[in-house]
Amino acid sequence: MNKTIDNDNKVLACVDQSAFAPAVAEYAAWAARRLAAPLEFLHVIDRHPTLGTDQDHSGAIGLGAQEALLSQLSSEDEQRSRAAREAGRVFLLQLRDRALGSGVAQVDTRQRHGDVEETLSGQQEGVRLFVLGRRGEAASADAQKALGGHVEWVVRSMQRPILTVPAQYREPSRVLIAFDGRAVTRRGIEMIAASPLLKGLPLHLLSATDAPGRHQKTLDWAQQTLRTAGFEVTAAGAPGKPAAVIDAAIRTQGFDLLVMGAYSHSPLRSWLFGSNTTALLRATAIPTLLLR
């Protein structure tokens, strides 16, 4: 597990040319500084190969139609790829310079062809934390939608912690941990206790349940674990639906980072009965750290 390659255990910031990119870069730099980890900016060029652009509706095919069409389509693709590559490079360089300026020791950039899903699954090895915007380029036009389609997919399929961030950067100072006593959350507590990411920040454990006292034992355990690791911890239980309780706490008490365990159920079950993770992700406007 513990490879000593320099690029290992990096923070991977997934950026595209949307309004979220600067915030993603800032949060990623923040995480990289706290973790003392290398930071990599990843820009995926999806050239949408299923999109036809031709305006020729003549329907006539003449001598060598197929060869002519092949060379025309490939040269169009070539031009598009080149333009996208150059634009992406300049864009990544700006982000890199900013991150270096903010004090991250090691920053790298990478551009890849393909789609976001495929690329991230391929890159997962050696990543300590993914940072991505709550919505990408593809979903930006649709402002109603709080959560991009890619984001939900990434959160579901990645086996690494993921930080999803809003468009505005605010350095996290008060952390809310959504606690429900499930195994995935308990593992999350251990991860937080062991990681330097949140060291020194006040933590608040919030357990939302209809049966008061149900999680008391595990809540005590969590508090104890975090205290032992040197955190300043408070804990509370509140009745109601998790999404509503947590949303209310964020609104009234000014938290600026939410931590939770993500998707313990199968996609089918979530699709049928709804998922707490998705509901919370949609409801909150603050950065959310999802632990797997």
Binding site: T50, G52, D54, H57, G59, A60, I61
Partner: protein, 497 residues
């Protein structure tokens, strides 16, 4: 199949898909009618087939953006069946073809496509273009009733519009303009020339489900099975080749086995809807991609628009002069033909050109694309065996002051090179001992091993002692399921031990 893929396949290119589907539908109508005439059935059989295949393959096919419908390649196969047994047997054969294709997809026959070389594919495409062209000739034959000079003039004018109009505007499909203008002229002048209406019944309603009216006996199966088998092969060949072409044009992958199953499902349904068997179409798929079609929606649009046009504008479709259809089909034939392959005849290796030309000739003379492709594949195999057979060298050095000789065999020994191998030894040499080092050769089959046995025997008859070195390694390649490719050291074993 995730929601993501579904959305990508269907909704990533909506506007272009709808427009391209429309263009394709307009070009599909004349084709479906023309191919029905080739097969010897009413135009409605081809039109229902084109609708049903295009609409169904849009959902179940493995290659988004590819157009499937009633095709010339398939129509040519069914001519005799229709002539001797009638339409109902064709419908039954269509269903059976579909069943065979589904099975082919399940057992992943698609992988056999890698034995079909580039030259065979080119030959197939060219033969198809030639056959489509030849099928138009009866409409241009002065002996056919109703073919007057008007027909030639209209066909020429039609081709003029098809190729000339895109220079003025690319917004409207020029084949459509051709059909509209020629129909208008023919009606205005009251010309007495052959029209689509003379060719047989057109659809007057949406297709209905019906079971082919045939006796369910073994004799029936005996009649339709050979046709269904050929139809399956031809349909899958053209579909997989077209899928490869579309893959190449759009630089996206496709699922070939899903395409096989999809073609099968489409044909089964089509047989029950009174349509003839079909497959993917090279010309139409090129038109679709050229018009901007990429997703499944383009294929669905093509099928649905075709049906709507034909059912609701049937009276107008009847009036279309055959000359207009001939012009469109000549365009399809020209657009399908691979003209680069003619230029390349001289530049490419002679063996490739022979394979291509043989595929074309056999297909054109038998009217059976399956036979043409089989010829091409076999010839490619022969040529390849011949070429690889050349990679064999036998050197020898004399040892032990002329009392012994050592032969070093390098290269490939198999049925095509076994004779050369056996003849490379000097049996008349007066010598005590011979050693044959085969550790740097491969013995691929039984012929090779028996050739070595023969060599050893011949030396023994001369009273020479023979020792064979390294045979185990050399014949390791002979075992059919050697499966060394994925084990350690496989490269060493296959590339000279």
């Amino acid at each position: 199949m995730s929601i993501q893929t579904l959305r990508q396949d269907w909704l990533s290119n909506v506007r272009n898909d709808l427009l391209a589907g429309l263009v394709v539908a307009l070009a599909l109508i004349p084709e479906a009618i023309a191919f029905s005439i080739i097969a010897g059935v009413d135009p409605k059989v081809g039109l229902y087939a084109s609708f049903s295949i295009a609409a169904i393959i849009a959902f179940v096919g493995g290659r988004p953006g590819m157009i499937s419908a009633a095709t010339g390649a398939m129509a040519l196969v069914m001519v005799v069946l229709v002539k001797e047994h009638g339409l109902q047997y064709l419908l039954a054969a269509t269903v059976l073809t579909g069943v065979l294709q589904v099975i082919a997809g399940w057992v992943k026959l698609g992988v056999l496509m890698r034995f079909v070389s580039r030259s065979v594919v080119t030959g197939f495409v060219n033969a198809l273009a030639i056959l489509i062209f030849l099928a138009q000739l009866p409409e241009l034959n002065p002996q056919t009733a109703g073919v007057t000079w008007h027909v030639y003039a209209m066909t020429a004018a039609g081709l003029g519009i098809i190729y000339g109009l895109p220079y003025l505007t690319k917004a409207v499909p020029s084949p459509l303009v051709t059909i509209v203008v020629l129909t208008g002229v023919s009606l205005a002048l009251g010309l007495d020339i052959r029209t689509v209406g003379d060719m047989g019944e057109l659809p007057d309603s949406l297709p209905v489900f019906l079971i082919p009216d045939i006796p369910l006996t073994f004799e029936t199966l005996q009649i339709i099975f050979p046709y269904s088998l050929t139809l399956m092969v031809v349909g899958l060949l053209e579909s997989l080749m077209t899928a490869t072409i579309v893959d190449e044009l759009t630089d996206t992958p496709s699922d070939k086995n899903r395409e096989c199953v999809g073609q099968g499902v489409a044909n089964i349904a089509t047989g029950f809807m009174g349509g003839m068997a079909g497959c993917a179409m090279i010309g139409q798929s090129v038109i679709n991609v050229k018009s901007g079609g990429r997703g499944r929606l383009s294929t669905l649009t093509a099928g649905v628009v075709l049906l709507i046009l034909v059912v609701f504008l049937g009276d107008w479709v009847k009036q279309i002069p055959m000359a207009a259809l001939v012009a469109v089909m000549i365009m399809v034939s020209i657009g399908t033909f691979n003209w680069g392959s003619v230029r390349n005849l001289r530049e490419h290796p002679a063996s490739s050109s022979v394979v291509m030309v043989a595929t074309v000739l056999v297909t054109v003379f038998t009217h059976d694309l399956a036979k043409g492709v089989l010829t091409g594949v076999l010839l490619s195999g022969f040529f390849f065996a011949h070429k690889v057979g050349q990679i064999l060298r036998v050197r020898s050095t004399s040892e032990d002051d002329g009392r012994a000789r050592r032969y070093h065999v390098t290269g490939q020994v198999f049925f095509a090179s076994a004779d050369r191998f056996a003849n490379a030894f000097d049996y008349k040499e007066v010598i005590d001992r011979v050693s044959i080092d085969v550790s740097r050769a491969h013995f691929w089959d039984i012929t090779a091993v028996s050739a070595l046995d023969k060599v050893v025997l011949k030396f023994r008859r001369e009273g020479t002692e023979v020792e064979v070195i390294g045979l185990n390694a050399a014949s390791a390649t002979m075992v059919d399921k050697f499966g060394v490719h994925d084990k350690d050291g496989a490269d060493d074993l296959l590339l000279g031990h």
